[in-house]
């Protein structure tokens, strides 16, 4: 499992309940916007006891009566609880306080990773393992029940929706994608030209994206070694990549960053083997 699930994160609370005076609306909005745009989660609370943050520190902001923070109204252990009276602070100073608390508490710096990864619609997924067999970057794995899962989210290549196009069930979403159904919009009968998307890729590449890429790159390499014309080899590779990029909407940077043909071959075989092993276990479980 990736480190993402372990790292502590800083959470912010605007405390406006008992023992405090609510912030002026404009200041609250400006401060919240600054915090959100810098990657922090912010809760605004009124009366009642407030639930704490279970994976990291909680910074409680407010205009506390007589400067006394509402220690008993927040359900969080003291060691990871910080209070800041913001009566005299503007939005940028509030943000600065959040940043210094984050540093001081060793919490993760937001924004270093763009959260782009496949989200599986299990109402559609048939657990066929095609996505697992396809992905070169080990994003997919299986759970204890041998169900497909996105596991290494931060291995996924930003803006690349390629695996959603190999899924025969239109079950893979990238919620930040520009259009449906990959963005999570309803899957229509017309979209089940999902079949078509797949055929398109197959037609384009003769059945196997990586095989095609490999052979084109190998051809380019051979030409390179024969002709010692680096530029031509590069052109060749780029031509192939452009075609792929256009047809499967794979960002060119992603394709250009692919490893060497041998490495692609090795990874593709590994991925296929993992997919096949998962399917075999699935069959065993069914028959047991």
């Amino acid at each position: 499992m990736s480190a993402l699930t372990e790292q502590p994160t800083l959470r912010i609370l605007f405390y406006e309940g008992e023992g405090s005076t609510p912030l002026e609306p404009a200041k609250r909005y400006d401060a919240m916007t600054a915090l959100l745009e810098n990657g922090y989660a912010v809760t605004r609370t009124g009366s009642g006891k407030v639930a704490g943050h279970e994976r990291g520190p909680l910074l409680v902001l407010g205009r506390f009566d007589s400067g006394n923070p509402p220690v008993d109204n927040v359900d969080q252990d003291q060691a990871s609880l910080r209070f800041q009276d913001v009566s005299e602070l503007g939005p940028s100073e509030i943000l600065a306080k959040a940043e210094s608390t984050r540093d001081e508490t060793g919490s993760v710096k937001p924004g270093e990773w763009k959260p782009w990864f496949p989200v599986i619609d299990y109402d559609r997924c048939t657990n066929c393992m095609q996505c697992l067999s396809f992905c070169l970057f080990n994003v997919y794995g299986v759970d204890e029940e041998n169900r497909i899962q996105a596991q290494n989210h931060d291995n996924c290549k930003t803006n690349c929706p390629a695996c959603s196009r190999v899924c025969p069930e239109a079950a893979i979403m990238f919620p930040k994608y520009k259009s449906g159904p990959i963005n999570g919009d309803v899957v229509t009968a017309a979209d089940m030209g999902q079949e078509k998307m797949k055929v398109d890729i197959s037609a384009l590449l003769g059945g196997d994206v990586y095989a095609a890429l490999r052979s084109r790159t190998t051809q380019a390499q051979e030409r390179f070694s024969k002709e010692r014309d680096e530029k031509q080899a590069l052109n060749e590779r780029q031509k192939c990549l452009t075609k792929l990029a256009q047809n499967a909407d794979i960002p060119k940077e992603v394709l250009l960053s692919l490893p060497s043909p041998d490495e692609i071959l090795r990874k593709a075989e590994e991925a296929k083997a993992r997919g096949a092993a998962a399917l075999a276990r699935q069959n065993q479980m069914k028959n047991a």
Binding site: L4, T33, V119, V186
Partner: protein, 131 residues
Amino acid sequence: MSDSPRILYCHCNYAQVVPEETKHSVLKKLSDSGAAFDAVADLCEMAARKDPMLRQIAEGGNVKIAACYPRAVKWIFGGAGCALKQSSTQVLNMRTEETEEIAATLLDGELVPNLPADKDGSKPAPHELPN
């Protein structure tokens, strides 16, 4: 404690798919309303981190979520092992719906559940249950 649904707002901070104007107007109306609410920078990131807040929300009763497509939100939570309950969740889609309507609906205290129905009725699949 009021019976009003909890409110969760997603700022979709790392993409340009939710119109800026919509995000900011919805946030402003929420912020000015005096209501208690949670605002998160990016729900997708929280799901990848399996942030414990997702479980608090999924198990916390009625909730209205301003984010993106209901199918995406359903499985963002589901994929993190914190399945939202169909009967207690309403998702407002800031990619497609009007600002005024989203803000008014978030604050009206009523719940109109709208998550896509589960394949087999209402029973969560094993992978959707908390770990």
